[in-house]
């Protein structure tokens, strides 16, 4: 597949984005390592590492635990960066914004937490005498979100998703007027099924425990978990059908909800390989009109609407489906 419209600057965005992410990674890691080292002589060991609701320190940690933040940072960000660098071609704007926001938020949170901890322990001879903290944590969280928002904005820089191109016209399928052709295919993410089922099981346990009065606030845990289970199951599998009535998508093990797009709304269809890293994760990604239903990486059926919008669904054997959809749409238009 060729991208005739793709220019050098698109590649520049990818390189600049990866470079900026790497610089930010090193910068944050350097701060996380340098601050504890610089104040090593003025901190008690162990130092206060946890503050209770009253604002008083209530737990200690060895001073070496401060270095743990740097390790967490390097591992998490390293995995993300390597993942992004491995994606061939352009990195989608949706993916860039999510990564940049995540990097900004996590970096800000780690540095803020470390700064607050060091400041509260500075020049105390024992961790129990560390300063009380209350509003400071709210400030750290707010600051982290502010950095996340900045990252989000930085990630949006540069041109939008490159593959706005017309997909290659797939082979058409000869339609016999005496026959009813139908294409059916599915994609399943077994791990999402497992996660959804586990979430449901835990939610049910909490609900039963709450009914018996064993757990005081069982409902508060059960409801969000049940919701997570529903969402997990809904995006765990998809069944796609293309027939004379149009394109039908059905989600989850119950094949509900489902949605049908009429043939008259479809301009063309083609197959494209997409990975969760390109579109920013699993599930329904992107905005309406530019969305990807990502169950698993690999072959996706991409459909362009006559309204100009576009929808991609990860599903096996997408090329055949695209060919049939193009043939049916052409017959309908004729």
């Amino acid at each position: 597949m060729t991208h005739p419209h793709r220019t050098i600057s698109d590649r520049g965005v990818r390189a600049r984005f990866l470079l900026a992410a790497a610089v930010w990674t090193v910068l944050v890691a350097a701060v996380l390592v340098a601050v504890p080292l610089a104040f090593a002589g003025r901190l008690p060991d162990p130092l206060a590492g946890h503050w209770g609701p009253s604002g008083r320190p209530d737990r200690s940690m060895p001073s070496s635990a401060l270095a743990l933040a740097a390790l967490v940072w390097v591992v998490v960000v390293g995995v993300c960066l390597v993942g992004m660098a491995r994606v061939r071609g352009e990195i989608r704007r949706a993916a860039r914004t999510w990564y940049a926001a995540g990097l900004g938020w996590l970096g800000g949170f780690l540095i803020g937490t470390q700064a607050v901890t060091v400041a509260a322990n500075l020049d105390r001879d024992d961790w129990t005498r560390a300063a009380s903290l209350n509003w400071q944590f709210a400030a750290v969280v707010a600051g982290a979100f502010a950095l996340g928002a900045l990252g989000w904005l930085a990630g949006r820089l540069g041109p939008d998703d490159a593959p706005r191109e017309e997909g290659p016209p797939g082979p058409l399928i000869d339609l016999d007027p005496r026959k009813r052709p139908v294409w059916v295919s599915t994609a399943t993410a077994p791990w999402a099924v497992a996660l959804g089922v586990v979430a449901f099981a835990v939610a049910l346990s909490f609900a039963v425990a709450a009914l018996w009065g064993l757990v005081p606030a069982g409902w508060a845990t059960a409801l969000p978990l049940a919701l997570a289970g529903v969402i997990g199951l809904a995006v765990s599998s998809v069944s796609v059908r293309i027939a004379s009535e149009g394109l039908t998508m059905a989600f989850g093990p119950l094949r509900w909800p489902s949605r049908t797009v009429g043939l008259d709304r479809i301009e063309r269809a083609w197959m494209e390989r997409r990975s969760p890293l390109q579109v920013g994760g699993w599930g329904i990604r992107g905005l309406p009109g530019m969305a990807t239903i990502m169950i698993r990486g690999g072959e996706c059926l991409v459909v362009r609407y006559t309204s100009g919008g576009q929808l991609a669904i990860s599903v096996d054997d997408a090329e055949t489906g695209a060919a049939l959809l193009n043939a049916l749409a052409a017959r309908k238009a004729a």
């Binding site: 026959k179 052709p181 139908v182 294409w183 059916v184 069944s239 059908r241 059905a250 055949t320």
Partner: protein
Amino acid sequence: MLLTLDLNDPRPLHEQVSAAIKRAITTGDVTPGDRLPPARDLAAALGVNANTVLRSLRELRDEGLLEFRRGRGVSVLRRPDGRAALRTRVRDLLDEAAQYGVGPEDVLAIVKELMEESP
């Protein structure tokens, strides 16, 4: 998986479904090792009852074309042998001939003509 149902086929539904799946295997649209979509998705796509599809799948399993594996669904085991594959295609040929008002006897005559042409 691409399936085609003949709108004028007088055969019972389960036989038509079997023929459609067999055709997909014969033409190489699905190859040995490929997994078929779940029966209920096939049923919804073809507009028939799930039990009808299951009956067809069992028939094809008994013919040795499909394999049922617990937890992994139904997959293609092998392509039909030459004779079975030809039967499917000759059946299509006869259907097409009927559309032109050409009966099976006439088709047979055409086949004989061709045999005499190519010694």
